[in-house]
């Protein structure tokens, strides 16, 4: 036996390896042998063998309280259980959570060393595992819940912050809104104590928030004289008797000014629906009140003006018998029906008719569309301001009326026609009178012209008369001397007759010039009227030894004028020119009047311009200013109607007249009178 040998050699007690009797019955068991050498004088004598039962050791060596708690086993180096119980079937949980294993399994190596025996103690799986697991899971669940709560609370916090921010933004927005609105807001509790005022309210009243909040009535912005009234009103308010239209009150500013305000009251309700007070909004209505008053005053004025107008004003929609508006005069002149309106429109031949005639003209040859529901309506844009004037005579009223009409969109959107008829009877009469007067003046002026030209005319007539006289005397003396042959006599007689005709022509021309005639506008040939005028003016020009040069454009159109009147203007201008030259005592070379007639364009209208240029000493500035004034004359015996009349004649022909000095360097070298009349 090796152990025996070993013991013998070593002379020391040696433990054997555990010996397992695995086939022993009823159960396999293990034994441990101890070999104790018997020594005699240090000589090996023999061995005492002691056998230990491992099972027994365990049973007796381990106290019961330990073995009650632990599964104790003795194991060899290969972890084979030699003695005791083994619990090798490990719970699954311990496999999943192996760190728990170490906590309930202990291994202690035991002697003799070298045989790798170890006592293995394992706590009982049953009781301690259940509690431990239960605790573990509890802790785990609690931890999870805690984490969940943490997350939840974090989220909640975040939402709260967001909500807070939103609330802040909203509050700021409200505040800004509240500050920006012009309506004053005031909140009162149920006792009437001011709990809140907004910026606008403070601004309106001039009191600060701190001065107002906490005040009981009477409030400082109440005017003293209204306190009683306002108190009763407030009481009503507090009782809940508020009108939805609000109240109009007077409010006193801190500086003492009063203004009108409108108050609207609504109950203030808290979160649970209980009324906590009253919210009042206040609007400054001073401006609106003023505007309304002004508007109403304007309306009154407008009505007063329309009513007081000395023209009849009526508005009626097209194609209806309804009279939309008629002023007093209309009602006076006509019945308050559309009859008058329509008759005015008809008689005046207002846009409808004029328009339709022009349409007819425009559509000559084209089929007329009778089915057009708008036939007769103006074709142009109806909104366009188009007003037509017509002067008509109403025999019923015995009045001349000037009728103006235009289309307008009535307030209800209907197309209506407004007709304004003005009584122009006095004007008409005055015009007629003025017309007659003007005609008389023109005739008178021509007479005066001729009167002033009398000496020139006499001179002019003297020429043919002298000639006739001479011829006759010559004939007489020749006949007396009997030395007159027939041919000579005939020549002389012919010459005499010619001179008599010449004299007759002069008289005829003067007569036709002076003769009073009705205004007679005809298409006149310019060269013809010029030659008439030149002949007449020539009388004066010759007497004053002034030459006349004419520049007449060829192919002048005919003009629609009263030839006598235009002649009158030309004669006057040429006479004046000659006089001016005469009084300037120009030498013969410079005694020249130029008459120029040319077509040209004046502001897009083609006109014929007549100009008479003299070489006199021009017009002094003060004369220039008053040149066309009536009764202004530079001539000692002048009446001052010549040029004034000339201008009115020209203007009555829709022309213009002007005068200008001509300069040679700084020296006035003459004067130019010109006028133009439209060519058509």
């Amino acid at each position: 036996m090796s152990i025996f040998q070993l013991t013998k050699e070593l002379k020391q007690p040696i433990y054997s390896k555990p010996i397992t009797y695995s086939k022993a019955r009823p159960a396999p068991f293990s034994q441990l042998q101890l070999h104790l050498p018997i020594l005699e004088k240090n000589l090996f004598e023999g061995v005492i063998v002691a056998e230990y039962s491992l099972e027994g050791i365990l049973r007796f060596a381990i106290p019961a309280e330990i073995s009650g708690q632990y599964i104790v086993s003795l194991r060899d180096d290969k972890n084979n259980v030699l003695a005791g119980q083994a619990n090798k079937a490990k719970p699954r949980v311990t496999e999943v959570l192996p760190w728990l294993l170490k906590t309930n399994e202990y291994e202690v190596p035991v002697m003799p060393v070298g045989y790798s025996l170890s006592i293995h103690a394992q706590t009982y799986r049953t009781a301690p595992g259940m509690i431990g697991n239960g605790m573990y899971w509890l802790v785990a669940i609690l931890s999870a819940m805690t984490a969940w709560l943490l997350i939840g609370s974090w989220r909640h916090t975040r939402r709260r912050v967001q909500a807070q921010q939103a609330l802040m933004a909203e509050t700021n927005f409200r505040r800004a809104m509240e500050n920006s609105i012009l309506t004053g807001m005031r909140a009162m509790d149920l006792k009437g104590c001011i709990t809140y005022v907004n910026a606008a309210f403070c601004q309106m009243t001039g009191w600060t928030e701190s001065e107002l909040v906490g005040r009981f009535p009477p409030f400082p912005y109440w005017p003293e004289e209204d306190i009683a009234l306002l108190n009763s009103r407030l009481q009503k308010e507090l009782d809940g008797n508020t009108s939805t239209n609000g109240l109009q009150v007077r409010v006193k500013r801190k500086d003492g000014n009063l203004f009108d305000a409108r108050l609207y009251v609504s109950p203030l309700v808290d979160a649970v629906g209980k009324q906590t007070g009253w919210m009042t909004s206040m609007t400054d209505i001073t401006e609106p009140t003023r505007i309304r008053q002004q508007l109403s005053a304007a309306h009154d004025r407008f009505t007063a003006v329309l009513e007081g107008l000395d023209a009849s004003v009526s508005v009626a929609p097209l194609g209806s018998e309804e009279l939309l508006f008629a002023n007093k005069l209309y009602r006076k002149w006509f019945d308050p029906t559309t009859q008058g309106h329509l008759s005015l429109v008809m008689q005046a031949g207002l846009p409808r008719t004029t328009q339709s005639t022009s349409t007819e003209l425009a559509t000559v040859g084209a089929d007329e569309d009778d089915s057009d529901p708008l036939a007769g309506f103006p074709i142009d844009d109806l909104q366009e301001i188009q007003s037509e004037n017509a002067e008509i005579f109403l025999p019923d009223l015995g009045k001349w009326l000037e009728v103006r009409s235009r289309y307008l969109n009535w307030v209800d959107g209907r197309l209506a026609q407004i007709v304004i008829a003005t009584d122009i009877t006095p004007r008409r009469q005055a015009e007629e009178q003025a017309q007659a007067q003007a005609e008389r003046a023109q005739t008178a002026s021509r007479l005066i012209t001729m009167g002033e030209m009398a000496s020139s005319v006499a001179h002019e007539l003297n020429q043919p008369l002298t000639a006739i006289n001479n011829y006759c005397n010559g004939m007489v003396s020749r006949i007396k001397a009997k030395k007159l042959n027939e041919a000579e006599l005939i020549t002389a007689l012919e010459k005499t007759a010619h001179q008599a005709q010449r004299a007759g022509q002069i008289i005829q021309r003067i007569r036709s010039f002076v003769k009073r005639s009705e205004p007679n506008r005809t298409l006149s040939s310019i060269p013809q009227l010029i030659s008439e005028a030149v002949e007449l003016a020539g009388i004066e020009l010759r007497r004053r030894q002034v030459r006349l040069s004419q520049v007449i454009a060829s192919r002048l159109p005919q003009v629609h004028v009263d030839p006598i009147l235009i002649e009158q203007v030309l004669v006057n201008l040429m006479r004046n020119a000659a006089e001016s030259i005469d009084s300037a005592q120009r030498p013969f070379a410079r005694r020249q009047v130029e008459l120029k007639v040319v077509p040209r364009t004046e502001q897009g209208v083609s006109v014929i311009e007549f100009s008479v240029t003299d070489t006199g000493s021009g017009l002094a500035p003060e004369v220039m200013e008053r040149l066309f004034e009536a009764f202004f004359s530079t001539k000692a015996e002048g009446m001052g109607i010549g040029l004034n009349l000339c201008r009115s004649i020209v203007e009555s022909h829709e022309g213009r007249m002007q005068a200008e000095n001509l300069y040679n360097a700084s020296q006035i070298s003459g004067c130019r009178f010109s006028f133009w009349i439209p060519a058509r």
Binding site: A458, T466, N473, G474, V476, Q499, R542
Partner: protein, 208 residues
């Protein structure tokens, strides 16, 4: 025209053709020679200054007027008698012409009974005037031969100053004065001082 000798020449200046022509007809019927001009300018450039004639001129004319024509003639020392034809209202002008030496003025229309005697009178006057004019012209011709110094001397002789005084006046010697005097007498064809005075004074008179 008839061959009857003419009584004299009448110039007619008028810018009116009919008046001119009829006047010619009238005067020719009275056997005057008539020359017509339509303007003063034509007349001045065309008329024969040597011819004994008279002038009938319209006071108003285009171009040079009758008054201006009269001035020109005076300038030319023309002896031509002038009559103005005036129209109505030209009397103040006519008076002016009379002051300047016009014979007369006649108003249009003319009365033959006035015109013919007037022409007659003018032609009479013209004869004398032309003779005087001739004389004056010849005197002028003589006088123009004198030198400046001789003219000065003659002036003093006419003034009745003695030779000595003349010499003093002009600062020359008496001998020189005498020499000038002799030259003057010779140039003016004067034999005596009386002749000399006559010639010299006639000239001065004409000048005045």
């Amino acid at each position: 025209m008839s061959l009857i000798p003419k009584k004299g020449t009448v110039y007619v200046v008028d810018d009116d053709e009919a008046v001119r022509d009829s006047l010619q007809w009238l005067l020719e019927g009275k056997d005057y020679r008539v020359r017509c001009f339509d303007s003063a300018e034509t007349f001045l450039s065309r008329y024969d200054a040597r011819e004994v004639a008279c002038l009938i001129v319209d006071i108003r004319m285009g171009g040079m007027s009758g008054l201006e024509l009269q001035d020109k003639l005076i300038e030319r020392k023309s002896p031509l008698p002038v009559v103005f034809i005036t129209g109505h209202g030209d009397v103040p002008m006519a008076v002016d012409t009379m002051k300047k030496g016009a014979m007369d003025f006649i108003q249009k229309p003319f009365k033959e009974a006035e015109l013919v005697p007037l022409v007659e009178r003018m032609l009479e006057h013209a004869k004398d005037a032309f003779a005087d004019h001739q004389q004056a012209a010849s005197r002028d011709a003589l006088m123009s031969k004198l030198t400046t110094r001789e003219a000065q001397v003659l002036e003093r002789i006419v003034a009745g100053r003695l030779n000595k005084q003349i010499a003093d006046d002009l600062g020359i010697s008496i001998k020189t004065v005498e020499a000038h005097r002799a030259n003057i007498m010779e140039k003016l064809n004067a034999n005596t001082v009386a002749d000399l005075l006559k010639t010299a004074l006639g000239q001065n008179a004409a000048k005045a």
